[in-house]
Every structure is written in C-alpha cells, then in structure tokens.
C-alpha cells in the first residue's frame, strides 16, 4: 500500500487519459521527470518479449500432423534450405527453397497427374510459428468442408519449418497444383505476436513475387476471425480458379465485384 502511494506521488499523470478511447496507441502515459513510468516500461517490455518469443517459437510438427490427419488430410513434413533461425533471418533466399531431402520426399510420393484443379495447402512457420500452432487448424476446420462441398481435389498438406511465403511455389510445382494456399506466421507486432497470414497464388511456380498473390492478413481471434477468414479465402479460391488469375488482377476484379 505504501509502495503504491509513493509511486503515485512520483508520477505526473496526464489529464487526457479519456482520449485512449479513440486509439490503441500508447498515449497519456504520464511521466516521472521526462521518463515513461515503470509500469508502462514493463508492459512494453512484456509485449516485446512476446514478440521475440514468437520469432523463435517452433512449429509443433507432430501435434499439427495429428490434428490434420483427424481432418482427413495427409501430411508432408518438410524443411527449407535455412538450417536454423539465425540463417533464416539473414538469408531470405534460403527460406524460399526446399532442402534436398524435402524435394526428394515430394518427388517420391507424387500422385498421378490429372487435369482437374488441385489445391496445395502449405503451413509454414514464417516469423511466428506460434501463429500457425494456434490458428492454422481452427481455420482449416472451417475451410476444408467448404472446399469438399464443391469437390475440389486437395493435395497432401505440407508442414514447412524455416519457410517463407515463396516456398509454397516450389512445393506446389512439385505437387502439380493448380493453386497454392500458404498459411504463415506474420512478423509479430507488439500487440500481435500470433497473427496468421494467408497467401493465395494461381499456377504457382518458382520465381513469382508478391504481385502474383492475394493476401489475407491478421487472422487471429482479436483480428480477423476464423469464420470470416475462411469465407474470404473460399471466395478468393473460387474466383481465382474461375478467372484463372491471382494477385493484382484478381484484386481489381474484387473491386469491380464489390463496386
């Protein structure tokens, strides 16, 4: 009690705390001297700690494999050319390509090619494995039944460690997919250590860049809900297959349709 009173006496509070209702920004923090009060320093530090832990979190390969199997989806466990997080952070090129073992694995179990549209689904850790560990399966639980209803052929799901978005292009090529959906952990923000991003690419092939993709961002309970994300993803997949495009061209179409 004494400690609390002393802290209150030392800290200049700001009489505009009511403005916090308008923004999530860290306003009206008060001060001691010119410094930010300790309580806020610790809360900031904790948010940063969560973000840092998310960057170094590991994909829970076995539990995810089990959960996906329950959904009826066979799983390939793959790894990029980036050996570890240290290399992953400094060599984005290596995070975009599969290592030799993973290539051999995919070449080995290729199903015979058929002309109907096939969807490759990739789960990659990206910059927050936590996001994938938390949100990928709940999202797929909503999406898979929608895709099965329209008889889309689903290829085995790939779980990729140390992967970036573009690694989906190589995997999808090896799987002979028509379209690839990559679920990946986004760069953690201070208030969002577990934000999942989704990238859709039509006729994926190695060497494509961001303008060839459509993106759904910030999938997590505090952001875009699983249901809303699944609905949007389902719509994008159908439109992409129908119009045979993805990326900037599909976005333009989206504008026209909405307008």
């Amino acid at each position: 009690m004494h400690k609390h009173n002393l802290q209150q006496a030392l800290i200049h509070t700001d009489p505009w705390a009511s403005l916090r209702a308008f923004t999530a920004a860290r306003i009206a923090l008060g001060r001691t001297g010119t410094a930010i009060p300790l309580q806020e320093v610790l809360s900031f530090r904790m948010a940063h700690a969560h973000a840092r832990d998310a960057v170094y979190s590991l994909l829970q390969v076995e539990p995810l494999t089990q959960q996906l199997t329950v959904l009826g989806l066979p799983v390939n466990q793959l790894h990029s050319q980036a050996a570890d997080r240290h290399e992953y952070l400094q060599r984005p090129d290596k995070g975009r390509r599969l290592n030799e073992g993973s290539v051999a694995q995919l070449m080995g179990n290729n199903s015979p090619y058929t002309s109907d549209a096939a969807i490759a689904i990739i789960l990659a850790d990206g910059l927050s494995a936590t996001a994938v560990n938390h949100h990928a399966v709940p999202l797929l639980s909503q999406l898979i039944p929608l895709l099965q209803n329209i008889n889309l052929r689903l290829l085995p799901v790939s779980l990729v460690q140390q992967g970036r978005v573009a690694i989906g292009d190589e995997i999808a090529m090896l799987q002979q997919a028509t379209l690839v959906v990559v679920l990946i952990g986004e760069r953690p923000g201070l208030s969002s250590p577990d934000s999942l991003g989704i990238y859709i690419t039509y006729q994926p092939r190695v060497g494509l860049t961001d303008e060839a993709r459509n993106c759904i961002s910030n999938v997590r309970p505090e952001g875009l809900s699983y249901q809303a994300a699944a609905d949007k993803l389902y719509w994008l997949i159908r439109e992409s297959l129908r119009l045979r495009v993805s990326g900037v061209e599909l976005k333009d179409q989206e504008g026209l349709l909405n307008g």
Partner: protein, 457 residues
C-alpha cells in the same frame, strides 16, 4: 586504375572501384546477402588500405553504375561543382578523412565543399571512419531549412510527430497528435503514414491536420506520407505543405518506388506554387534507408551504404525541408542487430550532413531484428551528440500501424534534457505560450481545461 595491396604473402586484387567500396564496408548482413562483402577480416582491412590511397579525382573518372544506364549517375556527374571541389580536389580518400577531422574543416568550410563531394566520395570516406569520427564531423555541419519554422540550428533538436492509426481513424490520429503536442513534439512536421494510400483519405487527413494547425496557430508543417503521385493528384485543392517520397540511390530502385527525377521535379514545382510556407520554401520530405536497392534487386553490384549515399544526391537536387533514413525498419537481412543498425545510422547521418542535407533518423527496429529499446537509447544519444536534426516521436515508441518500434515523445524530452537541446525557435515560443514548457524547456503540468483538450471530441 589498379586496386591491389599485399598483406604478408597474399596480394589482394580488387577488380574495380565499386568492389573496393563494397569490400571496405564494415560488415552488415545485407552486403553478405548480396554476395558483396569481404571474405575475411583481413580482406576488409586490405580493401580499406587500398581505398585510403585512391585520389578523389578517380571518383569523377570511374562511376559505380554506368552514366548511360542510370539517371542518378548522370545527375551526380552533371551537377558536380568543380569550384566547391577545389579545396579537396588534390586529396586521396584517406587524406580527406584526416582533413575532415582537422580544425581547418570548420562548419563554414564544410558547407562550402558540400556540392563538390559526390555521394561515392562521401560513402568512401565514411568507410574509413570510426563511429567517433562520423559523430565529430557530422557535428560540425549545420544544415538549416525553413517552411513555417526554422529547423537544424545548432543547439536545437526537433521531432516529427507520427500519430499513425491502423485504420486512419480521424479521432484516433487527433488523439495521438494532441498527446505529442502536449509532450513538446511536432516541430519538424506532423506526419501521418496513411494505412490507405487514396486521394480521398489523404485529403481528409490533410484537412483535419490543417484545421488543427490553424485553430491553435501552431508554427509547424503537416504531411501525409502518401505516394508522390497521390499528392500530385490532390494539389492544388488539398492543403499540401510538404510533398513526401521514399527514394533510393539507383534509377531502378526509384522505378520500383514508381518515381523518377522528373516526377520529383514536377511535384516540387506543384508544392512551391501553393506558396504555403511562411519563413521559407523547402517543400520536400524524403525517406531513405540502406537495403532498399537490394530489396528491389536494383543494386547493380554496389554495396548498400554507397547506394544509400547516392539517394542523398537525389534528395539534395530538390532542396528538402527534411530527409530521414529509416534505419532499422527494413529488417535483419539488411541490418542484423543493434550494432549494425547503430553503425548504419551514424554513416547515413554523416553522409547526408556532409552532402548538405537536413538529416533526421528514424531510430528504429522490427521485432525480428536483434535489437531492443536499449539499442535505441544508445543510438538516440549518439545522434544527439552528432547534431541530428530530428527523430520520430511516436506514442510510447510503438507504431500501431507500421508495427515497429521507434522513439517516443519521452525519448525526445530525455535527449533535449541531457544534452541541453531546444525545439525549433518558433515552435519553442509557441510551446511556452501554450504553457506546455517553461523558459528552461521543462515540461509543465497541463490541466483538463487546456485548450488543446477542449476540441470537439
């Protein structure tokens, strides 16, 4: 020219000037990613030994990107001022370093030679300098610019108030603006990074800021950091004080940003014709950052720090009010940790100042970089000593729209206090009239009745 040196029984041969520059650069992840960095510690110092003996004249003979294929090389060569170059024309890079640190190179002399130095010369000498050297030479440079107030005077230190909001909510942005103003920030500019780069949204944000500025008679300028073509599309109707653009140091980098020298010139003319400045007419605001050329696959084999210095040649062509390097935003594949970010920031600040630019620094990092607020505190303090014109002021250092950490209003107050620095004079007088600071610059207690808090919320 032949670039080689022998260390022990190894002879190091460097094929051309750009290779010497790249290999002489202190280690950073971006140059390693581009495959340009020295292969050993010894090779790096060997390259520095070679670099030290290269005459500055050689930089006018051997360009790092061909004149024929790059409009920035053409700009650098065609605008080189031989008269300004004369006092240093006989130096090697190494002699330039020693001269810059001598008492002969005072503020006036440094201002005189600025247009005689090409970005490659400035980048080259910075590679030979320790952090201490970068600080003490930059500190001697004074670059003053004006629009509605006077920025960059010795003993002054300004802040860009950055009131971003994830969905461009007008009240949310206004709340952060009021917070920043009451903490003494906003003299460099009040500048919003919009979440949506549309003409309608940009106009709406500009109008809101302009009304607030006029209502409280704040001697500062406002800016929405939209793409330059968006700004062009809304002038002259919208209240555009400053035209913003991200720029890089190669023609191809700028193409990836959707700009070129002629668009920049067109925008500058459009903003000048609005005649909105009161004490000066510096109407351009540029952001840069090491790594942007590599990121756009447009570095042409030139190291990222030399590319960055070339961006300053673009900037100075348009007499900007503000230039800042967004040093830690690009990520660890370009600048891995606090050490690399700190070094890059001091290089950028030095190179920009020596070339005559009003340099600020966004002292910042992302959550996947090996850095934290302690690194920012260190860098902030170093830059204050180096005489940096301004930093960013963001509520609690946490940008909720761009998702990165920079510096806070509190951080700016800390620096002003420990180094005895003051806001821009016109803005300082306004802060005193508002009862926000007293004559000694101390923050005053503000009550609920303060008129900045009486807007229609």
């Amino acid at each position: 020219m032949i670039y080689n040196t022998t260390i022990g029984n190894i002879t190091y041969n460097f094929i051309d000037l750009k290779t010497v520059l790249a290999k002489a650069t202190p280690y950073r992840s971006g140059d390693a990613l581009a495959g340009l960095t020295a292969e050993s510690y010894e090779e790096r110092v060997a390259a520095q030994i070679v670099l030290a003996d290269i005459p500055l004249q050689q930089f006018l003979q051997e360009v790092v990107i061909p004149y024929e294929t790059d409009e920035i090389t053409r700009l650098i060569i065609d605008t080189h001022d031989t008269q300004a170059f004369a006092p240093v024309a006989h130096f090697t890079v190494g002699e330039l370093r020693d001269w810059l640190l001598s008492d002969a190179a005072d503020s006036e002399m440094l201002r005189y030679i600025a247009r005689g130095l090409t970005p490659e010369m400035v980048a080259a000498v910075s590679k030979l300098m320790r952090n201490q050297d970068l600080i003490s030479v930059a500190r001697k440079c004074e670059v003053v610019t004006k629009f509605r107030n006077t920025l960059g005077l010795k003993g002054r230190f300004s802040v860009r108030l950055q009131p971003n909001h994830a969905t461009d909510d007008i009240k949310g942005i206004a709340a952060s603006m009021v917070d920043g103003l009451l903490y003494g920030s906003g003299d460099a500019v009040i500048g919003i990074n919009p979440a949506t780069d549309s003409p309608a949204m940009t106009t709406q944000l500009l109008q809101m800021m302009d009304e607030l500025r006029q209502q409280f008679e704040i001697p500062t300028q406002t800016c929405v950091l939209c793409h330059i073509t968006t700004a062009l599309s809304i002038m002259p109707q919208a209240p555009v004080d400053l035209v913003f653009q991200s720029i890089g140091g190669t023609e191809k980098t700028n193409s990836s940003f959707g700009v070129n020298l002629s668009i920049l010139a067109e925008a500058q003319q459009a903003a000048l014709s609005l005649n909105r400045g009161t004490v000066g007419n510096h109407v351009m605001y540029f952001e840069t950052g090491q790594g942007s050329s590599l990121s756009a696959s447009a570095h042409a084999g030139v190291d990222q720090q030399t590319c960055e210095a070339r961006a300053y040649a673009v900037a100075r062509q348009f007499s900007p009010l503000l230039v800042n390097t967004v040093v830690g935003f690009i990520g660890p594949e370009y600048l891995y940790d606090g050490k690399q970010i700190t070094r890059a920031a001091l290089e950028d600040h030095f190179c920009g100042k020596l070339m005559g630019l009003p340099m600020g620094v966004d002292v910042c990092y992302t959550n996947h970089a090996e850095a934290d607020q302690d690194d920012m505190d260190n860098l902030l303090t170093l830059l204050g000593v180096a005489g940096c014109n301004y930093i960013m002021g963001i509520p609690g250092a946490d940008d909720i729209m761009l998702n990165y950490q920079s510096t806070s209003f509190h951080d700016a107050l800390y620096l002003r206090k420990v180094l005895g620095l003051r806001p821009a004079p016109e803005f300082e007088a306004w802060l005193m009239r508002q009862g926000i600071i007293n004559e000694t610059g101390e923050l005053q207690k503000v009550d609920k009745q303060h008129k900045l808090l009486q807007s229609s919320w």
